[in-house]
Symmetry: C2
Subunit: 386 residues, 2 copies
Amino acid sequence: MRKFYTAEAVTEGHPDKVCDQIADAILDVCLKNDADSKVACEVLATKGTVIVAGEITSTYEPDVFGVIQKVLSEVGYSSEGVAMDTFVHQQSPDIANAVRESKEKREGVSDNQMDWFQGAGDQGVMIGYACDETSQLMPMPVVLANRIVRELSACRRSSYIEGICPDGKAQVTVEYEDGKPVRLDSVVVSCQHTEDKNLKKLEAEIRKKVLLPALRLLPPDDDTKILINPSGRFVCGGMDADTGLTGRKLMVDSYGSIVPHGGGAFSGKDCSKVDRSGAYMARYIAKNMVAAGLASKCQVSLAYAIGVAQPVMVQVDTFGTGNVCADDCLEMAIPLVFGLTPKQIVDTLRLTRPIFRQTAAFGHFGRKELPWERTDKAEQLRNAVI
Amino acid sequence: MRKFYTAEAVTEGHPDKVCDQIADAILDVCLKNDADSKVACEVLATKGTVIVAGEITSTYEPDVFGVIQKVLSEVGYSSEGVAMDTFVHQQSPDIANAVRESKEKREGVSDNQMDWFQGAGDQGVMIGYACDETSQLMPMPVVLANRIVRELSACRRSSYIEGICPDGKAQVTVEYEDGKPVRLDSVVVSCQHTEDKNLKKLEAEIRKKVLLPALRLLPPDDDTKILINPSGRFVCGGMDADTGLTGRKLMVDSYGSIVPHGGGAFSGKDCSKVDRSGAYMARYIAKNMVAAGLASKCQVSLAYAIGVAQPVMVQVDTFGTGNVCADDCLEMAIPLVFGLTPKQIVDTLRLTRPIFRQTAAFGHFGRKELPWERTDKAEQLRNAVI
Ligand SMILES: C[S@@+](CC[C@H](N)C(=O)[O-])C[C@H]1O[C@@H](n2cnc3c(N)ncnc32)[C@H](O)[C@@H]1O
Ligand SMILES: C[S@@+](CC[C@H](N)C(=O)[O-])C[C@H]1O[C@@H](n2cnc3c(N)ncnc32)[C@H](O)[C@@H]1O
């Protein structure tokens, strides 16, 4: 059976990603100075103005304007003449209490169950996924789309291509046959450029310097549609062309439109928010399942209730690729290997460290430097199942 | 095979939804006065402050502050003492040109192909879904979660329950057996309440006045976990507890975490943006497929490139439930029945009318009053296939 799957990626200069990076940079400085910081930081960036808002409870008071300026300049935008404003207040006392003392604790679980004392910071569903299509155990279109925007960004920073600017996007459609990627069907690239850049030349450079290296895993064939700057002109870009918000690139952050998503955003949130930590844990479990050879595709879904420690749903789906036991048997192995309360997740992956700024561009998954990408539980999982 | 699927819903008082409603109310007043308005309106609402930003090109200049106040008061919040600010500018001239003149037009399609003249307002993937689990042809957990928050809202407005406030959330997990919903596994409800509300009483009222009617389609059994206000206290709510942004309730707006999502947000965008209009069209196609009896589950995926009229991907997946022909045969029927250029979508569904404010709470799909919910193409589809 022939199927098509599409994934998008954006450069670090995309307005939504600029917001995500500012939010995670603020999170990181808070965590660096107070590992117990509770942060829910939202950012809006529009033509000439950046606004930071949200709920922050921390012994450290971040220099918000300083962080905004630093991120803008690191990304490649000028912060000159950019107006800034901030509307930050403390976390709701009701939520703070629900996180500090879970329903289980309030209702008297024993003192041996300290891992159950902390409640989830919100309700929600989180989905993790892994598959053996690529060495990162990520879907092929996601890997290719991210490579394109990484190459675009590298070409700009090194001036290997001249006259390109920070904003850019890519979209890759891959044809699958019987569940395996077999053909590159289409590629769309949009890259902001200077007024005087010759567009024919830019197209040739993107083909040679960006697409050729980025698409090595699955090169185009004669029928692959390649669209480069199909809008015809992309001089007005960044926040001048589009208003950015935190948490608006959910599919770019995760697995493209190939896998369902719980809906919760990541950036700007400390990991007492299960939206973020639950999604990381779900990826960690799914990736270890595939690394253990238990399935070639694995989707792990979790759901939580606010103020409750234990998840209300844990679910494994291998889409018929499980080759050792049924999905519900894999499911039963999870609690033997992974703790799923918010405290256990944060402890296992050490999520109070200031490691989040880097996640806010080029995807949260499939990057070996991140703790939820380790496959150190594969053997334990295999033993738990067999 | 046993599977669990979870969906969330929120009331119209949830901060993200307040933002969506303000954005769509602004869109509607623009469309009402200038059907050709190009609107990309983003809203941030935090404790004491609401900010509207974005790109609007319209002959009409909306009274942004007036709209904010109207929406806040209709939802049930006071706008007294709420600071407001607005950062609105025109659509990027480069994007405006790409929308006005598609790549096909620029490269000389014939004048008979006027439907191809308008380019897509962005790249992106959009997914539509339908299934025969409910009369709305929507997944059971989505229908149940939305019913709960609708009942909550009705109980507040009618004072059938006293002492409840506008902010609220629900989450429903349903157990499936062989692809059919068979059991209600868990329900989570959080509802903002006044300081002096007795929480035992509130719980009893929510069980009787909200859950009993809302869950009639699939009532709880003795093993159903029901969690009502599991955080223990929810007095601080709305924008006092959480900062809202437009476009941050993607799964609540669509099919829960049951179906993949393209990632593009809906509210605040006029329908030259395929993020929105493409998702509506994909639902329209999927729903007509199921209504035609061609499949019991149908997912339609579209992908576009900015400035291009025709989609770069059209894909149908019936997950093995197609009972007349294979998925690629259904796919081939689509162009015989539906036009997929941005202009054709807007014309078919008449999307320049000011109908969007109502979509910004309680979900964009499964509501019979909306044009993409019609099943008037079912017969034509059946004829095209057989
Ligand atoms: C097309 S804009 C979204 C629509 C926009 N808010 C409007 O008012 O029309 C989304 C993204 O596309 C990219 N973009 C902006 N201008 C573009 C252009 N002229 N050509 C291609 N892509 C562009 C940027 O990455 C931008 O963040
Ligand atoms: C929990 S808040 C998100 C986290 C928050 N930004 C923070 O700083 O902790 C998300 C949503 O949960 C709901 N909520 C707020 N306070 C709550 C409470 N005390 N109990 C249950 N739900 C609550 C509201 O609908 C709110 O928009």
